[in-house]
Amino acid sequence: MAVNKEELKQKILEYATKKAKHKSKMYIKDLYKADPSAKPREIKNAANELVREGKLEFFSSGSTVMYGVPGYGKGVEEAFEEGEE
């Protein structure tokens, strides 16, 4: 809760970059693990700021949105195994 937003952003970015080496697209829920003490909404707000700063990027199938780290990952198909409506 009490974490400072910049610190939280830093944690998320470190976590996402580490993870991106194995799996380039992650769900918002994966990012919760960057700081288990933070509330989902705080993580969401911090992650969205990182997107605005260009440090994370969105990846959308139309039905689901995932986060990626610019520069990681290959094609667009690998991240989505399921169909959508």
Binding site: I28, R41, N48, F58, F59, S63, G68
Partner: protein, 428 residues
């Protein structure tokens, strides 16, 4: 004729032969007027028919700056054959509440889309948005700029966001509306801008608002949180109009079935006997309703709109958890709040939504809708987190969803019993 190339599409030609106008005609006509995208789209569709496989790749890093929704990236996987649709992204544009437009707005939107995209639209997508079909990545930002700066419009929701809220025509056109559906829809759209544009959730979340239980937006079947107008006082009865129906001076269902002779209107057979609550009866030619038994099904009101009207103490019934999923069957929403006043600024409702979202964001699995989470965790758990009291209306079938249990802290002494004390009174 414009300089465009039509592909050979024998299978699509077959579709033109049916009795109804075919989408192939429309798309082709648009293409021949100068939109190569439309002709390439048909060419690729023909190829898909041949291969029995789609040639669209879906997903990608497309969107306008800062938004994580509203643009659905689509790419052709055969761009060499159909270069004009190598990118063919869809934009969802937030429709105005109840979908009222001026012709000027629509013309302007069409001009914009002729200029920046394929010129093809879908009015409206099932979520409610105006759907602009097919443009290139470098046109996304300019289109967004034009939409926001020239049209006063915004993108709608897609992905793991709040989806564009939608509502029925409500009080603007319908005398049955118990809610100002447009006001609620607009308010929720403005209030939850961040959730609408920036992905926050395990999966999509939809609000739909119907003014009365006729539920013209099918909220009960199609959204995670349905807001459906209702009343808690009595159905208003105009006995003079009741008699006019009985004597055939007024046509039942406002004449909707009058093009065929169904025989003389029989209030007993067509209204009273069909009341699901069996709470209506006639004394002479005076109609009585036991409103305490009425389930607000709207049947009697629909049949005799001049005689019967919803009450005046109006509000909303809140239901949650509908979905039309891919893997399991469709699920209708479950009633959780039988009546809520729904007056601006809707704080009571928004407090409820906050609790629901907090729980779902914390506990929901990736791609798990609220209704699925409730199924997995139990409605009892849902009631606990939303601080709602269990009520009989929530129980659909006592034997199959007996989810209202006591928890240990609600019982004096909890679950621990002194077995020796017990056995003093009861032989084993």
């Amino acid at each position: 004729m414009a300089d465009v190339k039509k592909h050979d599409t024998p299978m699509l030609e077959e579709l033109k032969k049916g009795p109804f106008p075919s989408f192939v005609d429309d798309i082709e006509a648009k293409g021949l007027k100068g939109k190569q995208e439309c002709l390439d789209l048909l060419g690729q569709l023909e190829l898909s028919y041949k291969h029995k496989e789609t040639h669209w790749k879906h997903g990608g890093i497309v969107g306008v700056f800062g938004y994580g929704g509203g643009v659905i990236g689509r790419y052709s996987d055969v761009p060499d054959m159909f270069p004009s649709i190598a990118h063919f992204h869809t934009l969802r544009v937030n429709q105005p509440a109840s979908k009222f437009y001026t012709t000027a707005f629509l013309r302007k939107l069409c001009d914009l889309w002729d200029n920046r995209g394929s010129g093809m639209t879908n009015f409206h997508g099932s979520t409610g948005d105006m759907v602009l079909l097919g443009t290139k990545t470098d046109q996304l930002e300019p289109t967004f700029y034009d939409l926001t700066h020239q049209m006063g419009a915004d993108l709608g929701g897609s992905g793991s966001n709040l989806r564009t809220p939608s509502c029925c025509v409500g009080k603007a056109r319908c005398e049955w509306s118990c809610l100002d559906t447009q006001a609620i829809c607009y308010h929720l759209t403005q209030e939850y801008q961040d959730e609408l544009h920036r992905p926050a959730f395990p999966y999509k979340f939809k609000f739909k608002i119907s003014g009365c239980p006729n539920d013209c937006v099918a909220a009960i079947a199609r959204c995670d949180c349905s807001i459906i107008g209702t009343w808690r006082d009595r159905i208003r009865i105009d006995q003079k109009a009741v008699r006019a129906y009985i004597h055939g001076e007024l046509k039942p269902n406002a004449g909707a079935h009058a093009d065929r002779n169904w025989g003389k209107f029989d209030i007993q057979k067509e209204v009273i006997d069909l009341c699901p609550a069996q709470c209506m009866w006639l004394e002479g030619e005076t109609l009585h309703i036991d409103d305490s038994e009425c389930v607000r099904c709207m049947h009697c009101i629909n049949v005799m709109p001049e005689a019967l009207r919803p009450g005046v103490d109006t509000g909303a019934t809140i239901l949650v958890g509908a979905k039309a999923p891919i893997l399991e069957g469709a699920q209708l929403s479950t009633l959780v709040i039988p009546f809520m006043k729904m007056e601006p600024p809707y704080d009571e409702f928004k407090d409820f939504v906050d609790k629901v979202w907090e729980w779902w964001m914390e506990e929901g699995k990736n791609r798990e809708r609220l209704g699925e989470l409730i199924q997995r965790k139990s409605l009892q758990e849902f009631l606990r987190v939303t601080e709602l009291k269990p009520i009989p209306q929530m129980v659909k079938e006592p034997r199959s969803n007996p989810y209202v249990f006591w928890s240990a802290d609600e019982v004096p002494g909890g679950w621990d019993r002194d077995i020796k004390e017990f056995r003093k009174r009861h032989a084993a």
